[in-house]
């Protein structure tokens, strides 16, 4: 056996090519990874883990649901109770779209130690829908005619309030005064005056009070707090946050139920303190469109964005608020604006800085909303050293003029166009959120969070935290302090829009600075813009 050099070259010539390709692939990949890990080590960001709460042991907590509309049903599902109708609908949806995981997620949801003990809804159809699905031989669910009867029955430990806004505070106060635990939807209150009364009731009560800002459970928001606290972004001077919707559901034009009439709806109880007008389906189902019962963009959607950021930055109540906008996209008789811009000023806000001391201080929170376009404008935090886009995912870009990253930018180790950090807790789980509105919420991180790649409803985590605090003590993440800040900020925005004036907050006295000759609550509730031709029974 004798090989010439030529033979060897012909036989083993592929070997050096193989070696070269291997070396190039390995060194390029490893090199890139090393560069990344240098950046990551410098940033030292700790992705958040799900909150661990003590289990809810012992006798089941007896929960009463007040308001079993769209949100009330969703909240019940988070508690582990889905109506038969919903399950049927979802089965059909899964057949049409196998990627829809709504039903599967619900079935896999951890069981909470609760007993659904009562329901209170002033529309017979809805109350019966709840009883029909949830009332069983072993657990007879009682329907209560009024919230007072439910709260005073002694058979309910905790209430979930998902009513129109003007009923949030009266019901919550009644419950707290009777030692019944409260989970109330946002905004926490409908007027300024009741915001103080509710705070007092919550502080004086032994019952646990929680506001339904469930995104506080979303892992990306917990991670965002860590990022901001480590000074990754530098001094944040501007926050841009938005509502972008363009469908009937998003514009609060919900379905008018065929069974709704003065015999099936307790109209007087719906109105409560609102102006007395004849029965009106439109107002009953689409109450979010009128100041008498709802609070439009400022109370309904700005509150989400405000609290999302308050949970990351802990910036509190703004020193002043200016708002503008109008009814531009849905001129259908509503009197809450459907296009709205709110600028909140925080002149003393500071989170530390990479520059010389004293150079930077203050921040504007800019909320911009339209119900006439659904283009996804993300939430952006703009800092001297970096920019963060915040939603279910979060991404950070270094800023070209950054002080902190100047050296790395100069060496080409960072570039303003390339993210230095990306966090996607759901990277291992396919997403199949279906409708436009639910996708809108998912993009904002309000719906889902991911635990070990498994999709978990953030409302479920939020309610679990509340129930655990009821049984074991401990703090809830959105309690009366956070709720108070959210409600006051929303009311300031609503007032500013209505008055066309700057509304200021007095930090010393914890009051909105009075405006001569103006009763602020009266302005806030005023329905004056209602066009009378629309107040007809539809």
């Amino acid at each position: 056996m004798k090989w010439t050099r030529r033979d060897l070259l012909k036989g083993l010539g592929g070997l050096p090519i193989l070696g070269a390709v291997w070396w190039a692939g390995a060194s390029n990949t490893v090199g890139k990874r090393r560069e990344r890990s240098v950046i990551l080590e410098q940033l030292n960001i700790q992705p958040s883990l799900p909150p661990a709460v003590p289990g809810i042991s012992g006798e089941p907590i007896r929960v009463g649901i007040i308001g079993f509309g769209i949100r009330g049903e969703q909240l019940c599902r988070s508690l582990g109770f889905a109506t038969k109708e919903w399950i049927e609908d979802m089965k059909v949806e899964v057949q049409e779209n196998p990627n829809n995981k709504g039903l599967e997620d619900f079935m896999n949801q951890e069981k909470l130690n609760v007993q659904l003990a009562g329901v209170c809804d002033i529309f017979d159809y809805r109350a019966e829908r709840a009883l029909n699905s949830f009332s069983t031989e072993e657990n007879k669910i009682k329907r209560y005619g009024t919230y007072q009867e439910m709260i005073q029955s002694g058979e309910i430990d905790a209430v979930v309030i998902a009513t129109p806004d003007h009923w949030h505070a009266p019901i919550a106060i009644e419950a707290l005064n009777n030692g019944v635990h409260v989970y109330v939807e946002k905004p926490m209150t409908h007027t300024i005056e009741e915001t103080y009364r509710l705070r007092e009731a919550a502080n004086n009560s032994n019952a646990v009070f929680a506001v339904g800002h469930q995104h506080r459970q979303t892992l990306s928001f917990r991670t965002a707090r860590d990022i901001v606290e480590k000074g990754t972004l530098g001094h944040v001077s501007l926050i841009q946050t938005n509502t972008n919707r363009n469908d009937d559901n998003g514009a609060w034009n919900y379905e008018l139920h065929e069974k709704a009439n003065p015999n099936t709806i307790d109209w007087q109880q719906f109105l409560g303190s609102a102006p007395q007008i004849p029965f009106n389906k439109n107002h009953f189902f689409r109450w979010r469109k009128w100041w008498a019962y709802g609070s439009g963009l400022s109370g309904d959607l700005l509150t989400h964005d405000y609290d999302r950021l308050n949970c990351v930055l802990n910036m509190g109540i703004p020193e002043s608020v200016m708002a503008s906008g109008g009814v531009y996209t849905h001129n259908d008789g509503r009197n809450v604006p459907d296009v709205m811009q709110v600028n909140m000023e925080f002149p003393n806000f500071t989170m530390g800085s990479s520059q010389v001391k004293g150079k930077e201080r203050g921040m504007t929170f800019c909320y911009s909303a339209t119900l006439g376009n659904g283009f996804n404008r993300p939430t952006i935090l703009m800092g001297h050293d970096g920019t963060m886009e915040l939603g279910n995912r979060l991404t950070i870009w270094p800023d070209g003029g950054s002080t902190r990253y100047a050296e790395m930018l100069e060496n080409g180790k960072m570039s303003p166009g390339i993210p230095i950090y990306q966090y996607n807790p759901g990277a291992n789980a396919p997403d199949a959120v279906s409708s436009a509105t639910s996708q809108y919420f998912a993009d904002k991180g309000l719906m889902w969070t991911y635990i070990d790649g498994k999709r978990v409803d953030s409302t479920f985590l939020h309610m679990r935290e509340w129930l655990s605090a009821i049984r074991n003590g401990g703090k809830v993440s959105c309690g009366i302090k956070e709720g108070f800040e959210e409600a006051i900020a929303a009311h300031m925005a609503g007032l500013s829009w209505k008055l066309g004036k700057r509304i200021e907050w007095d930090r010393e006295t914890e009051t909105i600075k009075p405006i001569e000759g103006v009763d602020l609550d009266e302005v806030l509730l005023s329905n004056e813009m209602i066009r009378t031709d629309y107040i007809t029974v539809s």
């Binding site: 090989w3 012909k10 036989g11 291997w22 390995a26």
Partner: protein, 156 residues
């Protein structure tokens, strides 16, 4: 140079280039533990969408990733070294067929992350055809480890 030899050299060049391409793809994945085919499979389109979506399932994605990486390297190594090249060509055709079918350039489907414009035919399909040629026209005996074996046989 006679005609046959010119053809052989052309096929060898093709073999080395395809082997190079496959090996590099495999190596990059081997050295990046964060790499996964999840996104590629989860975004699959066309008639076999459900099959590829199932491969993205949490329980199998680990195996799918490892097998894909290993297969890429097998194709790369066999073609570059000129040994078991027919087997390598078959594996390569199988891989490319899967890539082609998971994101087929069919009319009506959105083309994700492609750098050109395709209708029915794309680069995966063309590389597949090239591998078919390599299968039927082995060249390891001219340039490759098989060349040594041939020598060995002759020497005996």
């Amino acid at each position: 140079m006679e005609k046959k030899s010119k053809i052989e050299i052309s096929v060898i060049i093709l073999r080395v280039l395809i082997g190079w391409h496959f090996l590099y793809e495999g190596i990059v994945k081997l050295y990046n533990p964060d790499w996964t085919a999840f996104g590629y499979l989860a975004s699959a389109q066309g008639p076999f969408k459900s099959v590829f979506s199932a491969l993205a399932n949490e329980s199998v994605i680990g195996w799918v990733d490892t097998l894909n990486m290993a297969a890429l390297m097998v194709v790369g190594i066999t073609l570059l070294l000129g040994i078991f090249e027919k087997m390598g060509a078959i594996v390569g055709i199988g891989l490319l067929a899967m890539y082609y079918l998971s994101h087929p350039p069919f009319p009506g489907l959105t083309q994700l992350n492609v750098e050109g414009n395709y209708w029915l035919v794309n680069k995966n399909l063309i590389e597949m055809a090239a591998l078919l040629l390599l299968y039927h026209f082995p060249t390891g005996y001219r340039f490759g480890i098989k060349n040594l074996r041939k020598h060995k046989t002759v020497a005996q």
